[in-house]
Structure formats: structure tokens, C-alpha cells
């Protein structure tokens, strides 16, 4: 069924959005789509629709349409849409799978189970070091790597995906705890003079073909 997108609400209250900050900017992308797929048939399904598969678990792969497939385990992927279009051909294919699954593939409602924040800027790894025990330094955590870890004591998925040569990290975590996590991020960003940006501004100079 077609649903009025205006009925969809972000789990966080963004008080004030401002311009991007080269050093550290946070945006709430929770209103964008994202898809999950689980089951033994995941890789076969993705291969069948021509998706570029990540090489291993905890790695993501950029697709031709700008979307991103993050492999969370041999039997689970998370698909993020292109920031420019909000679309993903892979995601659309997943959306056509019925709730009870098909071919050993089961859709997972990641657009609702996980809030999605994007952090961008050179100081992002330092900010993360206040919240997360994984070393996300740029020379240690390569582009497109995925960490399934704890951020501010919350189970989270961190994906590094550069934007226009600037480090960027997608952070996905429990949508019910989204406001808590948002507040933790704002607190941690303070010493780096981080700013909050609108999702659209963040996407403006997004280079979907960057590797």
C-alpha cells in the first residue's frame, strides 16, 4: 500500500539545524528508507539481482545507484539508499519479498528498528572515541568497513562511507533509544564545536562513486 510519507516521524527531536562544519557535523537520516535481509539465501538473492556483494562480513559495498550494502554476517545484510536519491534498487527488490520470506530470505524492518545518523568531518573519530571502544581512526578503520559494536552502551552499527573526500560515518542503532543516543552525540560533539545539519545539506556534495 502507498503510505503518506508525512505520517512517518523521526524518533529524535532536532532542535536546530545549521550549516555543515568541516570538522564535525551530525545529521538525522532516520526519515530515509533502509532495508534489512536475513537468511541463508541472502547472498544468492543479491547475486541474482546483480548487486555488488561485499567481500566479507563487516564490510560494505557501494552500488552503481549510490546505495550501500553492508554485510553484517554471512546471512544478513543492511541496505542504505543513495543519499542523493533516497533510493536503492536492491532495497526495492527486498521490499517485494513477502513478510514470511521467500527462498530462505526474510526481510527485516530496519527502517523502523534502527535510527540512522550520519556523522561527517575530520574530528568524527575523536568524537566517537568518547562513546565507542572500537578504534575508528581514519588510518585504522578503512572506508566501507563496518563495526557492529556498542556506542554509548547501545548496540550499534557503524559504517564508514566517505563523502567528497571527507570522512563520514553512518551510525545505526535502536530507534527507541534514538533520542538518548542523539543527546549523547550532541554532548560528545561539544568539545569539537560540532554542528547539526539537515539531511539534505549533508547529501549535497555526496560523491556516490567515491571509493
Amino acid at each position: 500500500m502507498t503510505v503518506n510519507p508525512a505520517l512517518r516521524r523521526s524518533p529524535v527531536t532536532v532542535q536546530a539545524a545549521s550549516a555543515q562544519n568541516r570538522l564535525l557535523t551530525l545529521a538525522d537520516l532516520s526519515a530515509l528508507a533502509r532495508w534489512g535481509l536475513k537468511g541463508r539465501g541472502v547472498r544468492a538473492f543479491l547475486g541474482g539481482i546483480g548487486a555488488a556483494l561485499p567481500a566479507a562480513s563487516n564490510v560494505s559495498a557501494r552500488q552503481d545507484d549510490g546505495s550501500l550494502i553492508a554485510q553484517l554476517s554471512p546471512a544478513e545484510v543492511l541496505v542504505l539508499p543513495s543519499l542523493r536519491t533516497g533510493q536503492s534498487q536492491t532495497g526495492e527488490a527486498i521490499a517485494r519479498i513477502p513478510d514470511d520470506g521467500a527462498g530462505d530470505c526474510y526481510p527485516a524492518p530496519r527502517a523502523d528498528s534502527h535510527a540512522w545518523f550520519l556523522l561527517r568531518g575530520e574530528r568524527t573519530p575523536q568524537m566517537f572515541a568518547k562513546l565507542c571502544g572500537v578504534d575508528l581512526a581514519l588510518d585504522q578503520f578503512a572506508n566501507f568497513r563496518v563495526a557492529q559494536t556498542s556506542v554509548a552502551r547501545l548496540s550499534a552499527i557503524v559504517i564508514r562511507n566517505s563523502i567528497a573526500g571527507r570522512p563520514a560515518f553512518s551510525l545505526l542503532a535502536d530507534s527507541a533509544s534514538a533520542q538518548y543516543l542523539w543527546d549523547c552525540l550532541l554532548d560528545a560533539m561539544t568539545e569539537f564545536a560540532g554542528t547539526v545539519s539537515g539531511a539534505g545539506i549533508m547529501a549535497e556534495d555526496f560523491d556516490e562513486h567515491e571509493t
Partner: protein, 913 residues
Amino acid sequence: VTTRLPSPFGSHIDRAKPLCFSFESRRYSAFAGDTVASALIANRVWTFSRSFKYHRPRGPVSLERGEANTLVTVNGVPNVFAESHLLAEGDVVAGQNYIGSLHHDWLGWLRYCGRFLKVGFYYRAFYRPHGAWAFWEPMIRQTAGLGRINTEASHAYYDKAYLFTDVAVVGGGRAGLSAAIAAAENNERVLLIDDGVRLGGSLQYRRDAGEIDTEIARLAAFSTVTILDNARCEGLFSDGWLAVVKGTRLYKARAKQVVLATGAICLPAVFRCNDLPGIVLGTAAQRLIRMYGVRPGNRAVVLTANDAGYDVALDLADAGVEVAAVVDMRASPDGANLLHGRRIRVIGGSEIFAAAGSRHVTAVDIVATGSRDARERIACDLVCISVGTAPAIALAAHAGAAIEYDGANAQHLARSLPAHIRLAGSAAGGAEASHPFPIVAHPKGKEFVDFDEDITVADITDSIGAGFDDIQLLKRYSTIGMGPSQGRHSNVNSIRVAARARDLAPEEIGTTTFRPPWTGESFGVLAGRSFDPVRRTPMHRRHLELGAHMMVAGAWLRPGYYGPPADTTRAIAAEVTGVRHGVGVIDVSTLGKIEIRGPQAAEFLNRLYVTGHVKQPVGRARYALMTDATGTIVDDGVIARFAERHFFVTATTTGVEGVLRSMYFWNTQWQLDVDITNVSAAYGALNIAGPQSRELMALLTSNMALDSEAFPYMAVRVGSVASIPARVMRVGFVGELGYEVHVPFSFGEALWDAILQTGQNFGVIPFGLEAQRILRLEKGHVIVGQDTDGLTHPHEIGMSPAASKPYFIGKPAIAAHNARGLQRRLVGFRIAGTGGDSVQEAHLIIENNEIAGRVTSCAYSAALHATVGLAYVRPHQAPPNTTIEIRGNGGKMIAAQVVTLPFYDPGNERQAR
């Protein structure tokens, strides 16, 4: 009279930036870069505090962080090390541990009571006669403790951060710098941790230390090097985990390799009145001179057992201090050579027998080593000690190194370090020679081994005489090494005294355990920034707008009721009435939600739950009860079947994590072809309940038939509600016609808005957890965890598993319970009249003066005009109409009648209509 020395003395102070501060309400001047300690001494103030037990005046000994003598209160913050706090304009500093004033301490008379306050006196006194402790305790508490916590202080911001590195180097002296540079040249990421405001360690104050700035600059040029100065490594744990405190932040550093270049700790000598202000370590005098440009005294005596003492003497002479004598404990020192021809008197083969003075040292008595006769008294206002060092090996010990006494060098050394840890420089031993026994016992005592706790030589020998001869027992009985410095200056000397008292070698004594923190942490660091996730439902903002009183349920926040706290009872009653007579809506998003999908989904659930699910029709829901392998009830919920191989399971708010763990655990063994997905946060959920709920739902749906035939009780449907994709279940917890609507989390708020807006014509009311608890109690529904406990099995709450079901987890255990016979039974009870006001949950059921059970739920029911509840009773009390006795508030016995459940709508007509 100024004590400041001209440049180049005073490398750490900026003479162009004078500042003022106060100490004990008197104003003093200082320079930027001064510490409290250096500034006070520059102003000829040597007494910083009073000692813990005898209230003796105390001043700095080492000018290294970590001695109780220098704990002061700065701007209301107690127990600040005076040698560590960099002064700022207007700082207000006060001494500690006195009554009256620092110079006229009313408890100063305690210094004359040593013979009555021997070690362990508090173990033998104060407890007799019976009740004496109540008399003594207030007095002891008044005098004990260090500093006063300012309970009015504002909160400070303390936080934590991780650091990651290849090589962590602790200590920024010569060895640490060399190690850091070597690692950096090897393309390693390096973290250098140093507790000074500048790198260099002892090179900053030692005589002829050589140039260090070039190396510092070289190190800083590496982009892969991070320097944390003015930071303290307080602990070193497994896997290269270092706890580092810098300011108000705790760094949790992870290093693949650790180099401990922590240097060595200079040790004091022990002689009578060695605690007098003005008696310091030689390195303390050198710090004052070179770092702060302070001339520490006018006439000095240097006590030494190594060559370093002569450097101290030369530094003192250079600073204009008259060096009355260098007293060398060695038999034949080469004084003339070591003093480079300076005209300073050297007394070889001698030691200090005692110091004289009241508030400050005024003289020392010198004797030939081992002799107690032919003393020579030398007047002085400064005594500098250089009798040896102890490698700073606490961090190595934290990491598991073995600590052994090296008799040849009279030092404790760290051996058998973990492979990723290395020692460098003085921390590995080999600093200046240590005297094996720089201790001179005095017939009148007062030779302090431990300044923190006022422990003397006699205290140690007395403890051993009392049988506490093992070093661990000795520590605990005497409290030596248990003060703020954690034995930094007392451990080695106490071991030496104990060894001599027991006629053993120090290596046979062993050591106490080195525990973090190394130098001490503030409560702020320990308690600072922590993370406690809070979960909010998608309707949270709306609940707050409606004035909900939020309650905590696990990590979730849920509305308890809507309305001001002052009107709680009325608000809850109104919500109950609204549901019973109209329609209400409750946010049940916190329910656990799990998708079970796959060809063997039905079999999987059938094994997990007491209830049967293999034959559950598609489009139907069933109540589901879960037990563990012991037959104990662990959770309940509803299982809806949306397709042949698709089930949607709800679990209790706080039980879902356990349910998931159980699912994963068992299917690891069963290997059934199912997918288990936790979707608890993916769906928001509301329960619309009340006689008018069907009418309200009809206005919200267009693609779902709602009449009782098309959508009967316990049926489930997929459709849309308020134009939002929804899963709808005709289930309820409150005993009224109801619909549980699950929608994607992001649409939860929109659904709430639509229901409240559309429901205005019906007077729809939001209701909270409190009203729901009453409504479900009227219906006799149990809450797992409240009406069940860690032993409850299904028969005890009247739920008998189907005998025909061949297997489910807990079935064998439940069969064993049944074979043993019921020991208790959960029943409903009713209390007529006002007696119910005295009954609360957890009150006891009493029979023949014995505990026969307990109340698990209890509330006044307006619908039933009585107090009703659930209680465990003995099986013979379970039949309806049995009278039970409840011990209510104040021990009042209340009679209650056992009744058949449910209390409300026993025919289930309202819920199933």
C-alpha cells in the same frame, strides 16, 4: 624576605605573571606556573596540614604527587595534592585535618599521647563495656578522616574517552623519550603519558642533567605521536589497557605494547622526628630550586648514602643555601672529589639520630653509624635526604609482574613481565645506590616510617609482636601503606623494619599487593560520565504533552497515568472508568516483539512454549506461556500466526531479552529451519480497549471487517489503520473489547494522533500502566514477575499444560512438580468494607501463626466495590469461599475471602463480544 632565586632558576614559573592566592585566610603572592606547594614554600610557609593520628604539623617531603602531608583544600575541593595544583589568581587554599586553626590545632595534644595510641589500639578499646561504641563513635568520626566534602559544591563535568595506540610509553623522562622516539621511528603509533606539566622527568631538576629540549621537539615532530602531559596513568590492566586521568577526563587507552619509564621514587630516611616540616628529599629541594626558583632554606644538612646527595649539596650551595654538612652513611665517601673542591663539610660513616624542632626543623643530632653516643648537634632549617630509591613498579605489578627484592641493590624489582610490557630507565632498577637500612630507631620513638598513618618503627615491631608478622597481616593491622600515598614512601622501609624484627632478609618478607589507582583518583573520575540508555516509545512526545507521569519499565519510559501527581488516585480511577464505560487507548509499544519465520516455525514455538502452536490456525492468536528447563514460568505473551510459516510473538517488556536468549540457545541445539528476528523497536503498538472500541476502529479502518464474526476474539488481521499499515490483534489485557494495533515504529506517533483525534466523539481517553494494572487484576490476569516468582510453575497459577503435548521445555520438570503435589496456589481474594485499605502487595498470609503465603497483587476495584487481589496460599486454602488472614499494615490482621477468578466479567462476554 624573598626566597626567590634569579633566572635561570625557576624554569616553570613566569615572573611576568604574578598572582595572588590565599592560604588559611592569609594572602600570598606567587607566579604563574607555581604550584600551591612551591608558592607556599616561597612564602616560607612549610606547614600544610596536620597528620592523621597525632595531628603533628606536616609539610611536603617529596614534592612528587602522592603524599598525605600535602593534601589541602583548594576552592572547596578537599584532598588536592599541593604539589600538583597549579595556582590560579584568587585560589583559596586551606590546610586539613585540624580543629581550630592549622597553627593552633585543638587536637595537637594528641602528639603527646603516643604511648596510649599504639598501633591497633582501636581494635582493643572502645567496644567495652557494652554500648561504649555509641559513646566513642561520634568523637572518633569527628577527628578521623581527611578533608571535608563540600556537599553544596556544584557538579563538575567528568567524562571518559578511549585512546588507541601501538605503543604506550608511561613517563616522559630520558628513558621514556628515547623509547617513544624509537617506536615512532619504527612507524608505530605512540602515546606518551607524563604526569608533569612539561616533559623531561627528573631532567628538569637534576644537576647536570643535560639538554632535553631537542629530543622533546624531535618527538613532537612525529605525526604519529600523541603526547598526554599533565596526565597520570593510574592503572595498567590486561591486554594493554591503561587508565589515564587528565584533568576531568578518564582515558581508557589500549596499547599493543607498553613501555614503563616511570622512573624511581626517592625514599626518606627514618629517624626521630623525621616528619618535621623542613625535612625533605634532596630531589624536593632540587625541584624547588630549578623548577620554581625557590631557595628552600638558609642552612641545610644533607643526609646521603649515595653520590646524588652531593649534587644536592652543590645545588643548595649554588642557590645560596649554607650547607652545614653532608652526612654520609657510607664509611669512606670521596667527598672532596664529589664536591668538586667546594668547602662543604663531609661527615662520613654517620647518620641522623634525631631532628629537633617544634613546628619546623631547627637542628639534627648526628651520630656515628650504629652508635648512640657522642652526638653532634648541627643547627639547620633544612634537611635534605638522599639515601636511595625504589623503582616505580606499581604499574608493572598491576599488569601481573612478579615483585622481588634485589638484595644487592637494596631495591624491589619487577620480574616476569607480560610479553607486551617493557621497563625502561630507572623503573628497571639501577638508579643511584640505595642504603639497605636507612632507619635509626630511637628509644623515645617518633621515627615515622609512614607519614600518612603516623606509623613508627615501634608500631611495626609491636604489630609483629602481636602476631601480625606476615606482611599482608602487618599492613592490615598497622594500616601501614593504606593511606593516600598507598605506601609510596613507606613500603620499602616497612619491609626492612619487619625483616630486621623477624631476623629475616627483606626478600623473605615479600610485598603487599600493588593495586590501582597508583596515585589516587577523585570521585568525579570514578563516577563521571556514564551511559544509561533510555528507550522511548514513538508516542513519547505526545505522552509528555498530555501530562503523563512517566514510569520506568526496564530501559523504557511508560506513562503511569495522565495528570498531576497531586491527583493520582482520581486520575487513575477516571482512566479505569473511561475504559470500562467508553474507550481508552494505551501505549503498549514496550512489548517485546519477535518474528519467527521459516518452514519449521510452528515446531520451534511448539517446543519453546507450554502452549500448543503446531495446529494454530493462520489468522489466529494464542496466549503463550514459557517455562524454563526447571518448569519455572519465565515469560508470557501472545503468538499470532500471520502465515503458515510466519508467527509474530509478543513478550513482556522486561522479559523479551531473556526470551530471545532462550530462543537462540535452544535453536543452536535443535537446528530448526527458522529465522528469529527481534522487532521490538520496529513496531509501535497501541491497545484500544473499551465497549466503544469497535466503533472507534470502524472510523479508522476501511479494509478490515470488524464485526465479531469476521474478526472474532483472538483473531489477527493485516490491513491499515488510519492509512498506516498495521497488524491488528483482537486481544486484550483489561477484559474489555479491544484491538491491539502494531504499526511501524516511525508511524506510531501518527497513529496515536489519529486515534485521539478520531476518538474525540467517543471521549477516548489515554490510560496508563496504573489503570491497566487495576483493570487486568479485575480480570484476574497474572503479571509474570509480579504474580510469579523464580519458582512458580504453571500448576501453581492454575494453568495446566495439555497432557497430550509430547514435549516442551520444562515439561519433565513440571511433571516432577506435579508428582510432588502442589505446595501453594495462586488464588483471588476479596476484602469487603474498608479493611482492604491496610493490605498491600507482599503482605503475608498467616495461618496458625505461620506464614502460609503472600499477596502478589492488590487494589481497590471501583467496578467491584471491594478490594481484590491475588495471593499465594496453601493448597487447602485455595477453594472458593475459604477465609484467609492477611497481616496488613501495622500488623493488623485482615480477613479476606478466596473467590473464583476472574473477579470481573466471569463469562468473558465483554471481551469476546
